[in-house]
Symmetry: D2
Subunit: 348 residues, 4 copies
């Protein structure tokens, strides 16, 4: 941490700050400048709170220098984590495609979509049984009934099931019926849920919150990992901004930003990230080109009758075209990043 | 809902949309214009999903017209709700002041602050026992131990206890030890928690999410009320924007905006809303002037040693000065709004 | 500036950074920590660009420590500037009210509004002759004709004229017809215009840009002042965020934030800041309570026929009520800030 | 436009609105619903201001339905515009690469970079002679001297020159020395400058404003085109959001969004869009994959000594690698969009 003194801070105020630092058991490094003095702090094992210093007499600002996370970092594990989801993986050489309807609505709907997903070569099936809806008057999902349908999909189509838990009870159920626990954007800082997922044997797909900074997102993963579950996949699904031409603003720079500090895989959700059918494929292509480990895509056999998020769902035909296109891009991208690891390629 | 057709949509595409509307059992109102046709929909009892229409051939856009909430609305209850919290109220003629430390750290700290709060004439005491912290390595609160201290504060100082529940178990505990359940910004769309609070006999303080629209916030209240608990107080605590001179951007326009549609009381949190000690009082004054029903303020006997949020906590002395100042403003504002109810005063 | 090295940076990389710093003629202060080294820089007279350091081998981050502005700062001038506008002032003991229509539409309209403004006791009249409109198809203002009407208003009603310049030619004209040059939000970083205003003998009202940080806004003022014109008033008029219940999000915390670093007066624009008639008065009250030096308010004799911004204009009657209410608040606030200057009151 | 009445609006209030609509010469289409009445308006040739209606008695909301632009729209010109820039084009089959330093600093620097740019096969050279800098104390560019160097670059390396005009005088100079006028993000709504560029014979590169909505950006292009200059290229360069891991948030969904309504070409600026050297190439790849017509890239022979924006500039080596990679992606993307025009591919 760096303490910046005010221009008119007195010597005795600076000495006061130094004393507080030393009382806490750390080392103080005063640096008198032309117009103001700054005081560095070293020797702390824990992350300091800027709080302790900002209101001391003479202090203008306290600036945090070291990063607050550990387990997610490349310092901890320099090579990328490959997450095992049932008999599929995310984070390896292959592009992971997670596809399926927003919500499970019926056995017929689930099977119709699952067949197309399996035929496309994708290994992971998504579908919500418990839906987090803004309005209590909107369709809330089929609940456990939906999970049972999902587990039939697994049997019949040999797909691995990714589905959302809204609470700890939801995690219990997914452990029975599914293969991967999705934590939704609205629950990214539901710390009780994160801790429960951290005690599961299943891998976790952690969506970025609607207005989460990179640090908050990575620290949410840290909450899961600190409980012992290291099988975490991050999912960028768009953030909330002033822009109104999309439902959310897909922040693709999150992919290289995560790569720079973390070993965890990242997937892109262009369906929620745009909220518009006609934008899903272009943004999926962009997601693969920027280096994501996978995609999560909403597909519906009859989008115009979908009980939720129909406007952003692809038809089966559009989905097949998407798979064809993203694989074409991935074939070009994969060897590039083989030779040039992002950590090396973009530095002087 | 209003369906806007593309400029080059054919007549038969418009007829197709009309047919879909009629098949759903609603009335279609086509309005051919100079450059494009719009089609109104009436007769629906439920909120329609724009989804069902946006991808139909020839459709440019589907625009939602009616508001999706019911129980929170002035249509439902035209006069303001007065919420009872223990032996205090929020939403009545008096300005409600909820004050206390961010986190309960010890009996000594809690008592020192509580004494000052009680002496200031405030009736509500805040203090976290379970803290939602961005980092798993930060102080997480004393847990049930903290709640026990809070219930002692209630006994000794005759203050009513407002404290945060992070999960359903937290609600159970607050029902035993406290007077009002706070739902934090990060949990505003934790629907399981909202429903649980909706089944409590205690009133609920619902903080606005970091990037929640007005509708999302009101619908979160609707989730609580639909379970039968109508004792909900809304709390504006700042939203996340690009601005970096404050921790959050306090959106005081939320107060008249809520007033315009809802009977629920609204309080302002200038502590989290600014994150800076020196801004708390000016923004508290602004909150009272804009017409809020109350304030929630962080106070600490030793802010520089606070285990969380010290930078935004007031000292006891600053807090006393704040109470004096906000009461001066409230004395001017109260009679104004007596004569001119916001619903009447600002319309032609 | 503070250079933070990566956790795995080598000693020789740190020495490399030190050498670069010394080559530039500055002093380097290395602070080896438990996990990483930081290197402070002092001795620079100019603001350093983080650029020079961020891509050096081993560097994780470069953090700017000193503030980039001079003339606007309290270091430069510790007491508040009082700006003279014709025969009125902004920044003194009195609350400055600038009122008038969004655009000058006709002599009749301007006179009808001016009469009410003068009668209310306000000393400053606003009205646009050149309007910056998002669409080229919207009403663009009466141009020089409008300025002539404004100068008649000045003669007849003894009001001082505040009006917007869109370009350097506009400044020439205002110098002939008006009393204060308004620089609009969209032009806050039109540096040629800022420099031209800096060479004017007229005071300048500088609106904050739609997404301007505090530093960018203050530096825009610095652009004016560096040319020799120290008569600058800052105007907070709302920023662009995700929130849709208002046209902009009024950031009232900007007032104490400016006070903390600058001697320039600040006024609040609740008309553009909310975009809604029924919110103007509550937010004007909040603006006065938070400590602003004045208000700028849109008033129209027939808002429903206004050629621009009618939805946010007050009727003459509403305006009179607003003046009555804000003065009531100001009478309470003024003595408080007399005793407790913000710089003193909110610090330990 | 659609007028939504309040739930408790009386019949006579609805009739009042209908009368106002008819008085303006338009047709009113009342649609009584279960809970409230909506009234459609057709027959207007000009874009209506919601203003005229929002404060009428009984009105809850006025919703704009038709889009406000004309010349930029596909309705006007269904095939994509190919913009001629000197002897190069933007918007055709080839990917346009505009590369060069942020600012022209010296003949040596400009020539060193230009040689690499020409050798890479790019046809367009960028470089600022007049720099819009947040601080008046930062390097402001070489001015006309810089433009002379640029015109030498054109002669020697047969590159076409893209450079920014900060004001009308800047346009005069570029008409003498350059090939394309760049309007920067800060000037996107500098309407005097837009109009001047609209009267130029040179094509215009129009950067999106820091917080510009899609409509505002397109209407800024409309300001240029209405003066007769149809040679406009749009440039997405990132928008300002809460996210801090990048300098701006690159909004790649802007590309399909523009495609959906406009015939103008779009290029991506991953340098300003991210502000970080290591992110430029991944986001450039994503920009090509999403369907952009070109890229604008900052390159410097010695980024660590750049006088502006060094942190985001590529080295010559990195730039060569980028060109190789983006061309690989473009070879895959181009035939896809040949067969599937975005307007067709992503609709049902």
């Amino acid at each position: 941490m760096l303490i910046v003194m005010k221009a008119d801070a007195t010597e005795s105020e600076s000495r006061g700050v130094v004393r507080v630092i030393q009382d806490l058991g750390y080392r103080a490094h005063p640096m008198p400048g032309a117009t103001r003095t700054a005081i560095g702090i070293t020797g702390n094992q824990v992350v300091l709170d800027t709080t302790h210093f900002e209101n001391l007499p003479g202090v203008a600002e306290a600036i945090r220098v070291s990063k607050p996370y550990k387990l997610i970092s490349l310092d901890m594990r320099p090579e990328k984590t490959i997450v095992q989801v049932g008999n599929a993986t995310i984070g390896g050489d292959e592009l992971a495609i997670i596809a399926g309807p927003c919500a499970i609505e019926s056995r017929e709907q689930a099977f119709a979509v699952a067949e197309a997903v399996a035929r496309s070569g994708a290994r992971l099936f998504r579908g919500g049984a418990f839906k987090p809806r803004t309005s209590p008057y909107a369709f809330q999902g089929l609940g456990e009934e939906g999970l049972k349908i999902l587990s039939e999909v697994r049997e019949i189509y040999d797909l691995n099931i990714v589905t959302e838990a809204l609470d700890e009870y939801g995690v219990d159920l997914i452990e029975r019926y599914g293969d991967m626990i999705q934590i939704g954007a609205r629950n990214m800082q539901n710390f009780s849920l994160l801790r429960r997922a951290g005690r599961s044997h299943l891998p976790v797909l952690l969506k970025r919150g609607l207005s989460a900074t990179l640090d908050e997102w990575l620290l949410a993963a840290e909450y899961i990992m600190i409980e012992g579950n290291y099988q975490v996949v991050l999912c960028e699904r768009g953030v909330r901004t002033f822009a109104q031409h999309t439902r959310n603003t897909l922040d693709l720079a999150a992919v290289p930003a995560v790569r720079q500090v973390s070993h965890l895989p990242v997937v892109i959700d262009p369906s929620h990230g745009t909220g518009k059918n006609y934008m899903v494929t272009p943004l999926a292509l962009a997601g693969v080109a920027v280096g994501a480990d996978g995609l999560i895509i909403e597909v519906h056999n009859q989008p115009e009758r979908a009980l939720s998020d129909g406007a952003q769902s692809l038809t089966l035909e559009q989905y097949n075209q998407l798979v064809y296109e993203v694989k074409s891009i991935h074939r070009v991208i994969a060897p590039l990043s083989d030779v040039f690891s992002p950590a090396l390629a973009y530095q002087i």
